[in-house]
């Protein structure tokens, strides 16, 4: 199982510490931000696989704003929101804005681990799909150039054969003249 680099954003110091310890224990790399402003700064410097953020935080940058900052920067980063039961509606709105999932407080860690496993699987598949696509595009691009070159060459040769044929079948000129013209056409190709 792929381990994830996760940015945890939460203004509650107890929950922050708890999340950090539990997630580190299962092998993920954790960085923490005590509010949306610190999160914003960290996101400008570095890419994370997942951002796990509280929905309600003091100041202008809450969970929704963190989500918007992440999605503006890189759509392949997954964002999971932590919400109080009362703000489930907001969490659903956040899903429409591109959040991958949300968890209600109090956090059930088994549930959190399961969701992160799912995200890790999808990210792994996404990456291999992109690798395969890149390889496919490159192969296809090279094949296309060869095929197109042959297509044009073939067309040119066909035209030449048609011209030679037309010349040789012509009625008027003497045979030697026809052969000379035909050879000139062939020589020019």
């Amino acid at each position: 199982m792929k381990t994830l680099s996760i940015l945890v954003v939460d203004d509650d110091p107890v929950l922050r510490l708890l999340l950090e310890k539990r997630l580190q224990k299962v092998g993920h790399t954790i960085e923490i931000a005590a509010d949306g402003y610190i999160a914003k700064e960290l996101l400008e410097k570095k890419r994370y696989d997942v951002v796990l953020t509280d929905l309600m935080m003091p100041g202008e940058i809450g969970g929704i704003e963190v989500l918007e900052i992440v999605k503006e920067k890189d759509k392949t980063i997954d964002v999971v929101l932590i919400t109080a039961h009362s703000s489930v509606d907001t969490a659903v709105q956040a899903m429409k804005k591109g959040a991958s999932d949300y968890l209600e407080k109090p956090i059930n860690f088994d549930e959190l681990f399961l969701r992160l496993d799912k995200i890790a699987n999808v990210q792994t598949m996404y990456r291999s799909a992109m690798d395969l696509r890149l390889a496919l595009n490159r192969t296809e691009g090279e094949a296309a150039q060869t095929i197109q070159m042959l297509e044009l060459l073939n067309n040119k040769l066909q035209q030449c054969i048609d011209d030679v044929e037309g010349e040789l079948l012509a009625v008027d000129p003497p045979a030697e003249d026809k052969i000379i013209t035909a050879l000139t056409i062939l020589g020019a190709t």
Binding site: G98, S100, N137, G141, A144, I147, E151, L152
Partner: protein, 277 residues
């Protein structure tokens, strides 16, 4: 997954050819198994023979549709290989518009057909190119038609909603934000582009003269599934559906050599297009 026997393979292969024109030989055994197993199971069949019998007997043709959907649904991307769209933007559209403008004082009409439109990415990409090139210029009228044999593909194309796998490569950030709306994990095409296009079901093996003549036809990566004989017929029909100075664009790894003598290949930058002789 249900295994296919050699005799079932022959039977199902002929059946698929008869309903869709697609010819799958022995080398595509995996395609039958990976794609048709779930169709068989969803109709309560435990073998391909049983699926075939049931499909032939069923008057509503629901199984037939499911089989066509399963076999023909392929991944397509927005601006899949950039060549054809650059060709359209820098060479073909300016030439067509120029030619039509000189023709009459009336509002020039340009008809474009995406002959195997699948889930719509190609036609929407064409629409985006036109929108980018002409902005809100109302001096020209465009008809953009997408056809496909699969009902499921037509339905998805008409709805215009794509997941991130289908969208984020190929489309740059600017066009994505400009022409799509984020919907959870998916993106939906905006109405201004949706309104430019039409999709309808069509089997390319059937006659299509009723569609009229087109100035530009895209027929990419579909004929590769046809027999040489069917390919010859298809491109002859396409030649008849193209205006005398019209443009045909086929897949970047396809060739018309030995398929249709009515067309001449022409090169622009790194891409090839075809015109009638």
């Amino acid at each position: 997954m249900i295994k296919i026997t050699p005799s079932e393979l022959t039977l199902v292969s002929q059946y698929i050819h008869s309903i869709s024109g697609i010819y799958l030989d022995k080398s595509k055994t995996y395609l039958f198994e990976t794609r048709l197993s779930s169709v068989a199971e969803s109709h309560g069949c435990s073998s391909f023979q049983e699926l075939y019998n049931k499909a032939k007997r069923e008057p509503a043709k629901k199984i037939e549709k499911d089989i066509v959907d399963a076999i023909t649904t392929n991944e397509t991307l927005f601006f899949r290989d950039k060549g054809p769209f650059e060709l359209l933007q820098h060479k073909i559209l300016p030439e067509v518009i120029d030619a039509r403008s000189n023709l009459s004082a009336l509002k020039p009409k340009v008809k474009i057909w995406s002959a195997a439109s699948s889930t719509g990415q190609e036609l929407y990409s064409i629409a985006i190119v036109i929108k980018e090139l002409l902005r809100d210029n109302k001096d020209y009228s465009f008809t953009l038609l997408g056809t496909d044999i699969s009902d499921a593909a037509i339905a998805q194309a008409s709805y215009g909603k794509y997941n991130r796998f289908e969208i984020e490569r190929g489309l740059d950030k600017r066009n994505l934000q400009k022409y799509f709306t984020l919907f959870g994990d998916s993106w939906k095409i905006k109405d201004e582009i949706r309104a430019m296009v039409n999709f309808k079901k069509l089997n390319l093996m059937q006659p299509f003269t009723a569609l009229g003549k087109f100035d530009i036809i895209f027929c990419r990566n579909v004929a590769i599934y046809f027999t040489l004989d069917d390919r010859k017929k298809l491109f002859t029909k396409l030649a008849n559906s193209l205006t005398d100075d019209g443009y045909l664009i086929i897949g970047s790894t396809e060739s018309l050599t030995g398929v249709c003598p009515l067309f001449v290949p022409k090169r622009h930058l790194r891409s090839i297009f075809y015109q009638k002789k």
